[in-house]
């Protein structure tokens, strides 16, 4: 047994980010988390390190992380790390953490990060905040965040402005409640962070060139692995997974004058957002979409980040299935359509004219990020 003690807070320093790769390619979340990690490391006055595990040659991908703000990247290469495996990754990561002791450790809340994070936190005896959407160290920044994003009366509360704990904020109860979690007695403070939420820095080649690559020593053998990955299959087409989807573009009877064209527009918009297509019962009853697409009281209840309703009136039975979406956008040619009562953003117009322009505008906004 090592003499690692997660309660010895003073022994820990630096902010680390787990940098996930699939097939040797870095994931977009890596750059988002490195960018956020940079802010946190600056607030704490410490270094920011990426931690990259992969097959032989993965080192060549590491320097790019410097361009987004990493001072150092710790690279662990082994054929056993080429494809994600819980046992192999958890062992290497925990061993390296026990040796080098970072004070904060961020992981992307991908399907892999949410498999890995809890296993490591349990082994290290520390806390893990799940699926965070906001992170602060600095108390003044945190207060400002609460002012903008909560109904709390921050001025009537007492604040310890010297508090250096990582404040990790996350939605729970399907987004009805937000909680800020701290891990005051153990290190590292660990968080999985929701993909797509943290803003990516502008890539800086000079910083990438200056980024230091370190190869910590680690032990890993075949006998450490208790599961075998037989194959990794990429989905040819996204399955219609309304409940799990972050973005849903739904169509209603408003597409009736050109059903095929309307569905095609919805598919294009969903593709741009990385989401799926849904529909009101009117579209299912008319046979335009199959039943698995139905949103509403007798269909599916969904809580996506964004729900776009194209040509849907907003009947109570439809609202019942989508009103808890985080952001609702409605396009309808009738400005008194009830859907506008619950929409965060409404556009009164013809969906066949508006949707193509919206697709272009969102493409442009995403490209500019």
């Amino acid at each position: 047994m090592s003499n690692f003690n997660s309660a010895d807070i003073a022994a820990f320093k630096d902010v680390w980010v787990f940098c996930e790769q699939r097939e040797g390619k870095l994931m977009p979340t890596d750059f988002e988390l490195i960018s956020k990690g940079r802010d946190l490391a600056d607030e704490l006055g410490v270094n920011l390190c990426g931690l990259l595990l992969g097959g032989e040659g993965i080192e060549s991908a590491a320097k790019e992380l410097g361009g987004y703000g990493a001072d150092k990247v710790l690279v662990c290469e082994s054929p056993l790390l080429a494809v994600y495996n819980t046992d192999a990754y958890a062992k290497v990561i925990c061993d390296v953490i026990e040796e080098l002791k970072p004070e904060a450790f961020l992981i992307g809340a991908t399907n892999i990060g949410r498999d890995l994070g809890p296993r490591c936190a349990a082994r290290l005896h520390t806390g893990l905040c799940a699926d965070c959407t906001h992170l602060d160290v600095d108390v003044a920044n945190y207060i400002q965040f609460l002012r903008e994003s909560s109904t709390l009366d921050v001025d009537s509360q007492k604040w310890d402005m010297e508090d250096r704990n990582l404040k990790m904020t996350r939605p729970a109860f399907g987004g009805h409640l937000m909680a800020t979690i701290i891990c005051p007695r153990f290190r590292p403070c660990m968080a999985t962070v929701r993909p797509g939420v943290m803003k990516k820095n502008v890539f800086d080649q000079a910083k990438a060139d200056a980024c230091e690559i370190v190869k910590p020593s680690f032990q890993l053998s075949e006998s450490d692995l208790n599961t075998e990955v037989v194959e990794v299959v990429k989905a040819a087409k996204k399955l219609v997974d309304l409940i799990g989807a972050d973005y849903i573009v739904s169509v209603g009877r408003g597409i009736s004058k050109d059903v095929e064209g309307g569905i095609k527009l919805a598919e294009e918009l969903a593709d741009v957002l990385g989401g799926v297509v849904g529909g009101s019962r009117a579209t299912i009853d008319s046979g335009w979409l199959s039943a698995d697409h139905q949103v509403g009281q007798t269909g599916k209840t969904v809580h996506p980040k964004v729900y776009i309703a194209l040509g849907i009136s907003g009947a109570i039975q439809h609202k019942a299935g989508m009103q808890d979406s985080e952001c609702i956008i409605a396009v309808n040619k009738n400005d008194t359509a009830p859907i506008f009562e619950i929409a965060d953003y409404g556009i009164c117009g013809d969906l066949f004219k508006v949707t193509p322009m919206l697709i272009e505008a969102i493409k442009a906004a995403k490209a500019a990020k």
């Binding site: 349990a122 893990l128 994003s149 109860f173 979690i181 891990c183 037989v230 299959v233 556009i347 004219k353």
Partner: protein, 266 residues
């Protein structure tokens, strides 16, 4: 052979969610249900029972009324139920929760050909952490996000979902699997099942029953043993009546895209 299924009673967040003025959840005003993913885990276990005749044990940690949910699981076809309930266990975060559930599962006993099943994620806490953390505490291999499970002797083949596809993973028993809704369609309780449920064994593990397990320690369970604390909880500002954008032209769409980008929604 047996399958231990860890199930949680949760408030039904699909309907109206009531929040108290102080930002806490008004649980009293809400219906409770069995966590949806856990229903898929139970169904997966019952399918294996149908095929092999193995035993299915359901376990939950929660207040005494959670016994009602366990009865429903027995009525669906589970053979035994264990309620883990004690004041000392209250206020646990996922680290402490998995510590306690692992101790309970140890007491039920995990043998060479057994499987432990969990849901991927509970709809209230929403962390998806308890399954992997139980696996770590029990030193079991884990496979999360299971969308298909095939059992052949002591080898389990799992279709493990990724955002952009899936992995096929082979693992030997004993192991822990977390289940997602794509796995199956949970069965209903049958009339006969409801009748039989009252004859099936239901045991309660209190603090006394588990305190000798090395995992149970005042410093690792309950509110005091939880590494994470809730620093603040709050409700997001109420949704306004919404905002009608002016016009329906290119500029309107660009304005909307810009707002969404600035708010990190896209």
């Amino acid at each position: 052979m047996k399958i231990i299924v860890s199930i949680k009673q949760v408030p039904d967040t699909s309907g109206k969610v009531a929040v108290n003025p102080d930002g806490t959840l008004n649980r009293a005003s809400m219906q409770t249900i069995t966590n949806p993913d856990d229903m898929n885990a139970l169904e997966a276990a019952l399918k294996i029972k149908d095929a092999t005749g193995c035993k299915v044990v359901v376990v939950t940690m929660g207040p005494p009324p959670a016994a009602g949910m366990l009865r429903e699981a027995l009525a669906m076809g589970a053979d035994e139920a264990v309620l883990v309930s004690a004041r000392e266990f209250g206020g646990s975060d996922t680290y402490a929760t998995s510590q306690i559930l692992a101790a309970a599962i140890n007491k039920i006993g995990v043998e060479a050909d057994d499987i432990v099943m969990c849901g991927r994620q509970a709809i209230d806490g929403d962390t998806a952490q308890v399954g992997p953390q139980i696996a770590e505490k029990l030193h079991l291999p884990q496979v999360t996000y299971a969308a298909d499970i095939q059992k052949d002797g002591d080898t389990i083949t799992v279709k493990r979902m990724l955002e952009d596809g899936y992995m096929t993973i082979k693992v030997k028993t004993p192991c822990l699997i977390t289940c997602i809704k794509e796995l199956n369609e949970p069965r209903y309780m049958s009339v006969g099942g409801v009748f039989e449920a009252y004859g099936k064994p239901m045991t309660t593990y209190d603090y006394e029953a588990l305190k000798d397990d090395p995992l149970i320690d005042a410093t690792t369970i309950g509110l005091k043993g939880s590494p994470t604390n809730i620093f603040k909880s709050f409700t997001p500002p109420q949704k306004g009546a919404g905002m009608m954008l002016e016009g329906a032209d290119k500029a309107t769409c660009e304005k909307l895209a810009d707002i969404l980008a600035k708010k990190h929604i896209i």
